[in-house]
């Protein structure tokens, strides 16, 4: 690694910041001491191991998070409705009491600023992300923490299915463009993209659960519960991956280095596995960053259809109920995942495509 003039301060500041981030993230679950330990280790490891450009990117997330939370708070304080609205009209006293209890100032820009300041203070100083107002007696962490592994489990399986199935179809189609193989694969892709997941999910339920009785229709608790929703969630992504992979493969196969490889006497199998696959992966990896963030945070539609206690519904219900703290919790998670996956994608791209190395 080459030493650059700015490397040292960036390493120090970045390391400290990584430590801080790790501390923030770990504290709600591990407590103050555990959080500090994780933070110190994470910071040291970050300063020592993380490349310069990662640290710069991580530093950039600070203003990003602040801006995002501020915007989210202001939006919440400007849309009509508040967490205490109820069909039964509550008296002014009841409302004032509830607002005081949950620390919700009056609506409007000033109220939003006040709420923002209090939220940041609580989050940074106490490591507390606030209570849920609609699910009383539970904090945001209480709600999102059990939902996170559920969505991750589902998302991971779906992501795996999407990538493997998509790559398989895409590469096979790309190797034999304009043949019946290609047409079949792309017909699948078009169907997958155009059919929304609730239609796919409903068809799967109808066929595999209600008619054949092989898999449970809804619920959570065993691996069997995971299969249908994962497939429903994966198919549209698989279709998209297939189209990207097909394009990538066709492009790569016309490259000079493929001809060189063939000229060197490499078997067709070797050409495909060593060279074509890499080329096919490049557009897929760029797509996977935002897609993974989306797929892992859960899908409201799929979760509702299969009665899964994942995170997707908090994104929707939090906003519909104006459950302010829950909304901000979901914003934090989504933002964190998007940032993390974009970073991963950049490195993934550098790994699959040597031409991109050294550029940020």
């Amino acid at each position: 690694m080459s030493a650059r003039p700015t490397a040292v301060p960036v390493k120090v500041v970045g390391g400290l910041f990584v430590a801080f981030l790790a501390w923030l993230a770990a504290r709600p679950f591990l407590g103050g001491v555990g959080g500090a330990l994780v933070g110190a280790l994470g910071g040291a490891a970050g300063a020592w191991r993380l490349p310069h450009r990662v640290l710069v990117r991580v530093l950039w997330t600070v203003p990003l998070f602040f801006l995002l939370i501020f915007t989210a708070v202001q939006l919440m304080f400007h849309v009509p409705g508040d967490p205490f609205a109820s069909e039964k009209n509550t008296s002014a006293e009841v409302r004032a009491e509830q607002q005081k209890h949950y620390g919700i100032p009056e609506k409007g820009f000033a109220g939003g600023c006040k709420f923002f300041a209090a939220y940041i203070e609580k989050a940074v100083v106490d490591g507390y992300l606030g209570p849920s107002i609609k699910v009383q007696g539970r904090s945001v962490v209480d709600l999102l923490l059990p939902a996170l592994p559920v969505s991750l489990a589902l998302g991971l399986l779906a992501l795996t299915i999407a990538v493997f199935l998509g790559l398989l179809l895409g590469v096979v189609a790309g190797l034999r463009p304009s043949t019946w193989v290609d047409y079949v694969a792309m017909a699948f892709a078009v169907i997958g993209i155009s059919l929304p997941s609730f239609v796919i999910g409903s068809l799967l339920i109808l066929g595999l659960s209600l008619t054949l009785g092989w898999l449970p229709v809804a619920g959570w608790g065993t691996f069997a519960h995971l299969i249908l929703p994962a497939v429903a969630l994966a198919l549209p992504y698989a279709a998209y991956v297939a189209r990207l992979a097909r394009g990538g493969t066709i492009e790569v196969m016309s490259e000079d280095y493929i001809r060189t490889a063939r000229a060197k006497g490499l078997s067709e199998q070797g050409v495909v596995l060593k060279h074509a696959l890499r080329g096919a992966i490049v557009p897929v990896v760029s797509f996977l960053g935002p897609a993974a963030a989306g797929i892992l945070t859960g899908s409201f539609v799929v979760e509702t259809l299969f009665g899964i206690p994942g995170m997707g519904r908090w994104f929707v219900n939090g906003a519909i109920n104006r459950d302010y703290y829950v909304v901000l919790g979901t914003v934090l998670i989504e933002c964190g995942l998007v940032v993390a996956f974009n970073l991963l994608v950049d490195f993934g791209l550098a790994w699959v495509d040597p031409r991109l190395r050294g550029k940020t």
């Binding site: 002014a92 009383q136 539970r138 939902a147």
Partner: protein, 679 residues
């Protein structure tokens, strides 16, 4: 490259282990009885909850003085083993069941009830159901008068502001200025239930000017009202829970004193806001004492697990005094809102009871299933009319709108679920109550004539009407159909406008709408639950409508004896305002002729119901701030193996009446045969 691949494999394995972790908590197997509970309960704190999903769990894990008998839904002895009432029906003395214990083994005492009832009424609890007990002596003062008196008094209070306003307008106070003041300080909210002869008419006065003397009398009356509220609040704080209102002379005696005779009082002792809570547990963690592991309860079931968005698992409570008659060992409540999911689960035998659990579009198919039940419910679907907006401030316009809708077609062709057309606001099935004749039958010629009278022949010149509804396919369908009816029958240009739930609520509250869809579920079986909301400035009124005669009838209905005790001249004047005077006179005579206290109570109650009938007549014949459309039906699917599930219940006289609120206490539910897909 292979090292990185190995890393990926490891990461994947770790993630799969995470998956395993999420399953470990769920490996409990199916409960004896599984039902779809709709929305996730917001809380399990009986004094803070509202809503049916919460209520089903509360009924299972807590027990009030009484609980509802499964076959009649009438209150039977629960935590209280017996009770006595005074001859005037105002004082109730409950004897607590000695063997009733909390889940931690402590005895359930009268002090637990005093604590819970005071907690329901305490302003800091912010309970939405506090008003239910306002008929208890001191209760309303304890609940609301403190903050009202504070807002009225003081240097920045409403009284001081009004005095300043009166001082600034020596030549008289224009009503517009007065109404602006009323709005600014939220005076109607501060004067709930006001009966002052100066203030009450002033609140609804719309035109003219108060003379200087009148204005100063107004300020004096406001000060008087403030002083009265402050004094009553002080008395309530000193005595409620101690020696008046609700109190416990000894641990096994619970006394309730009512301000007015309330026939539905006993029914409320089986309703969750009045359930006892364990004081030490609540005070230790006021915000989350009801989580599993912490919660202390006294009902037939225990809260075993509550995984948000997954299930609530209940276990039978071995310490419950009636445990021997509880058959179910485990119950699962699934928080599923989506009707398709509910139906799928039901069809595969994963769920035994699914209230309203089928997609609306399938009603024609579902209706024919033997395991389907559908009965009228105590709920009315209606439209509010904004009476502060032109041209809806004209009652003729409102009545014309009400007459131009063919409800029969609505329920038969649009809703199709067996709903009942509604021309009254009070839902049918309320014991001994008969609604007055509705004038809202489908009558297009009369509607057109009224509209013409109001200055809009054939709908010409009538502004565009927006029919506001909250976002939902079902509401949209109704709104669009009504728009079509108004267009076709009146020539009025109407269209459906949807707003998302919160925005909709705010629009309605701010009176920023023309017509707005609404629904009301009766909380208890008495006309009061449908009628007291329409008093002038009532919190749930939200139409801007007010009628002094209506307010007076509702007020008198809470103390019907006041009519009996009125001086002859005043009573005569009052009777002259009634629509069915002979009937009222007959009932008054019956009260006078009653031989014993019990007969007298019954006669007074008949008079009370008649006062409600007169009030409802004003509401639906003259004022019409609302257009009732239909009464909901309570529907659902229940597995044939479920026993002790009654969609119709036995009434006092032995006849069968609908289970209006779809209540099926698990205490008496039994399973016949194993779980499985219903045939």
């Amino acid at each position: 490259m292979y090292r990185t691949l190995a890393g990926l494999v490891v990461a994947f394995a770790v993630a799969l282990a995470l998956v395993g972790l999420t399953f470990s908590s769920s490996a409990e197997g199916r409960a004896d009885y599984v039902f779809v509970n709709g929305t996730e309960p917001k809380t399990l704190d009986p004094q803070k909850m509202t809503g049916q999903p919460e209520g089903r769990i509360a009924d299972a894990i807590f027990e009030g003085l009484t609980f509802r008998d499964n076959e009649t839904l009438r209150p039977v002895p629960g935590s209280a083993v017996s009770w006595e009432t005074s001859p005037d029906g105002l004082r109730w003395e409950f004897k607590l069941r000695p063997e009733a214990v909390w889940s931690n083994g402590e005895r359930v005492t009268a002090h637990d009830f005093v604590f819970a009832w005071k907690r329901l009424l305490a302003p800091e609890t912010a309970s939405e159901y506090a008003y239910l007990l306002h008929f208890v002596r001191h209760a309303e003062a304890f609940n609301t008068f403190g903050s009202q008196a504070a807002a009225l008094g003081g240097p920045d209070g409403a009284v001081a502001k009004l005095r300043a306003l009166v001082g600034a307008t020596p030549s008289g106070l224009p009503v517009a200025r007065w109404q602006a003041f009323v709005k600014e300080v939220g005076l109607t909210d501060l004067l709930t239930g006001v009966a002052d002869p100066v203030l009450l008419p002033a609140l609804t006065r719309a035109t003219g000017t108060f003379s200087a003397a009148e204005a100063s009398a107004l300020a004096d009356a406001l000060e008087g009202e403030r002083a009265r509220r402050a004094a009553e609040h002080a008395a309530a704080v000193a005595h409620l829970g101690v020696d008046e209102g609700v109190f416990a002379p000894d641990p096994s005696t619970f006394v309730v004193e009512l301000r007015t005779y309330t026939p539905y009082f006993l029914e409320l002792t089986a309703f969750y806001p009045t359930f006892p809570v364990h004081r030490a547990t609540v005070e230790a963690r006021p915000d989350d004492w009801f989580q599993p592991g912490r919660i202390v309860t006294n009902g037939p079931f225990l809260l075993h697990r509550w995984t948000v968005n997954e299930r609530i698992r209940l276990h039978k409570n071995p310490r419950y005094w009636g445990a021997s008659s509880v058959s179910l060992e485990t119950v699962d409540a699934l928080p599923i809102e989506n009707s398709t999911v509910a139906m799928n689960l039901y069809l595969t035998g994963s769920v035994d009871w699914s209230p309203a659990g089928y997609p609306q579009d399938l009603i024609d198919v579902v209706k024919r299933r033997p395991d389907f039940y559908g009965e009228p419910g105590m709920m009315v679907y209606y439209y509010r009319i904004n009476c502060t907006r032109k041209p809806f401030d004209d009652p003729r316009v409102r009545i014309a709108l009400g007459l131009a809708i063919d409800r029969q077609v609505l329920v038969e062709q649009v809703m199709r679920g067996g709903q009942v057309p509604a021309v009254t606001m009070v839902a049918p099935g309320i014991p001994a109550y008969r609604s007055p004749q509705g004038t809202l039958g489908f009558d297009v010629p009369r509607a057109r004539a009224l509209l013409k009278e109001a200055g809009f022949p054939d709908g010409k010149g009538f502004p565009k009407v927006a029919l506001l509804h909250n976002t939902s396919e079902a509401h949209k369908k109704v709104a669009e159909w009504i728009a079509d009816q108004l267009r076709r029958n009146l020539g009025v240009d109407a269209r459906a406008v949807n707003q998302e739930w919160q925005s909709y609520q705010e629009s309605v509250r701010r009176l920023d709408y023309d017509l707005a869809r609404a629904g009301w579920i009766g909380d208890y079986r008495d006309p009061n639950t449908f009628l007291d909301m329409w008093i002038t400035g009532g919190g749930n009124n939200q139409t801007g409508w007010g009628d002094a005669g209506y307010d007076r009838l509702i007020r008198l209905a809470t103390k019907p004896l006041a009519v009996v005790e009125m001086p002859a001249a005043e009573r005569d004047a009052f009777l002259a305002t009634l629509k069915e005077r002979p009937e009222a006179e007959r009932l008054l005579a019956a009260v006078a002729a009653a031989a014993d206290p019990k007969a007298r109570l019954a006669a007074v109650d008949a008079l009370r119901l008649h006062l409600f009938r007169e009030a409802e007549a004003i509401l639906i014949q003259d004022g019409l701030p609302v257009i009732p459309l239909y009464f909901y039906v309570v529907t659902g699917l229940v597995h044939p193996r479920v026993e002790g599930f009654h969609s119709r219940v036995r009434d006092v006289d032995g006849s069968m009446i609908p289970n209006l609120q779809d209540l099926h206490p698990f205490r008496d539910v039994r399973m016949r045969g194993p779980a499985g897909a219903p045939k």
